[in-house]
Amino acid sequence: MIAMTDRAGAGTAAEDDLYPPPDWAARRTAPGTRALLTFAALAALLVAGRLWVAPEVGGRALDAWTTIFVAICVQALPFLVFGVALSAAITAFVPPGVWNRLLPRRPGLAVPVAGAAGAVLPGCECASVPVASGLMARGVAPAAALTFLLAAPAINPIVLIATAVAFPGQPEMVLGRFGASLLVAVLAGWAWLLFGRGEWLKIPARPHAEAGRRWEAFRQAMRHDIMHAGGFLVVGGVAAATINVVVPAEWVTGIAGIPWAAVLTLAVLAVLMSICSEADAFVAASLSQFSPTAKLTFLVVGPMVDLKLIALQTGFFGRRFAVRFIPLTFALAVGVSSLVGWVLL
């Protein structure tokens, strides 16, 4: 699923270090021809399906499930595409030295600045792990890079706009998400600064894309992120549609009725669903039986701890890092968002 762990073979082109490792040798049939044939077959399948399968399919539950599933995917798509485009542009076009110039020298001070930088720089969480690793490789204090890693996907402008769209008329949800996420990111950074040890963290050395190949790097970064984030978005859509249609309504309302159980359930769901932060607000909004605080927890935990991030962080920074940092982040995220939700929502 995650190809970041076996990166040993990478080393030819500069972009290799950012994205999954090179293939073993490609098959020699012209890829264009193969692609065209596959596409033709797929298009034929879809047309045939629409003509002969769709009229036969009519279960009310299946229809409702599919409508909700497609709706969540469709609603999230533009946010996903434009978020990924911006984050790919930053990966490909912002020179590495900029980060060192922007961040204060003192790590204790660099942590909140890195957190605030997350508010202006869009980054999908899949992109934020390699970006943070690149920051460390370029001499940024690990604690500050980790704060950026947590903050960037959670509080960037695209995510906040998506949250505002998903919760119309509830600006406190956007505010709560922003405040709680920033707080968790900064606290986690400071905690790492105080208690973290250098040997827990594996800092990979990485070259940067050469100037001439930046467009190519942009295109590849964007495609890779859409594949990654889009795949997990579909997982989230499936889960949300299932909760909406298949899981008995009494169970959901039963759990949603117990405050602490609701918060923990959505926190765990956020980890399991691994939805991209640009898209998770729509899933949260569809869980309408749950309390606003539980939804806020979902929105704060999701961009910071989820299955794909656990895999990516383990791959980039090593297991010894992941087993310490991930529980720390999860506990902070649940605690802070319950508190913020209690005060604000």
Binding site: A13, F39, D63, T67, V70
Partner: protein, 246 residues
Amino acid sequence: MGAVVTKSAQNLLLITLGAATLWITVATDEYLNYVKPWFRWALIAAAVAVVVLGAAGLRREWHDADDHDDHGHDDHGHHGPRVAWLLCLPALGIFLIAPPALGSFTADRNSTRTAAPPAPDEGYGALRPTGGPLAMTISEFIGRSFEAQTGDPGTLRGIPVQLSGFAAPRPQGEGWYLTRLRMACCAGDAIPMRVIVHGAARPKTDTWVSVVGTWMPPTAGAPVTGVHEVRAQHTRPIKKPKNQYE
């Protein structure tokens, strides 16, 4: 499905995803089954971006194939994560199942979701009788009914109104539900808005009807329960509207 996602497959997935999105926004109006009308343009822009990205990738592969036909090197080959195959599912859902807008199934399931009366901040203005029945959305009717139940019943009593929605049976009690789903953002968060109709035969479930009738005040002494009722003068079947949500 277990195969690795080669570059060609990734590009094709992108094009398929974009094409499916263009299908529901440009070729048809199916996007109205899923999202709010204003979202169309964002969808078209995203679909075009995704198609261009996929097409650029394919073009690149073509070039590489021409250039290196008989050399063995392939330095662009990147597998995508396997989870990327799932991107097929939305396209398959759109084309193979062609799901309609949500109907009585969801309305019935989500009936426990409490819908706050959707009144605007400044409240509803007074109704101006025009001689005929006043057409309004079910949300507005519920909001006005709530105002009348908690405040001055005179604002709604005896005024003929016209509501439209789909019919759904009422498991207990008399009458049937006239329902419309209201979405905040996409179909995933749809909440049923429903009014109990008295005094008319129940149409078949999920058929669209227009009801002309008057508001029924709650029986004296009964607590305000969030139940809103209308006494029908007449009902007639109507065509399914293009946008079935409120």
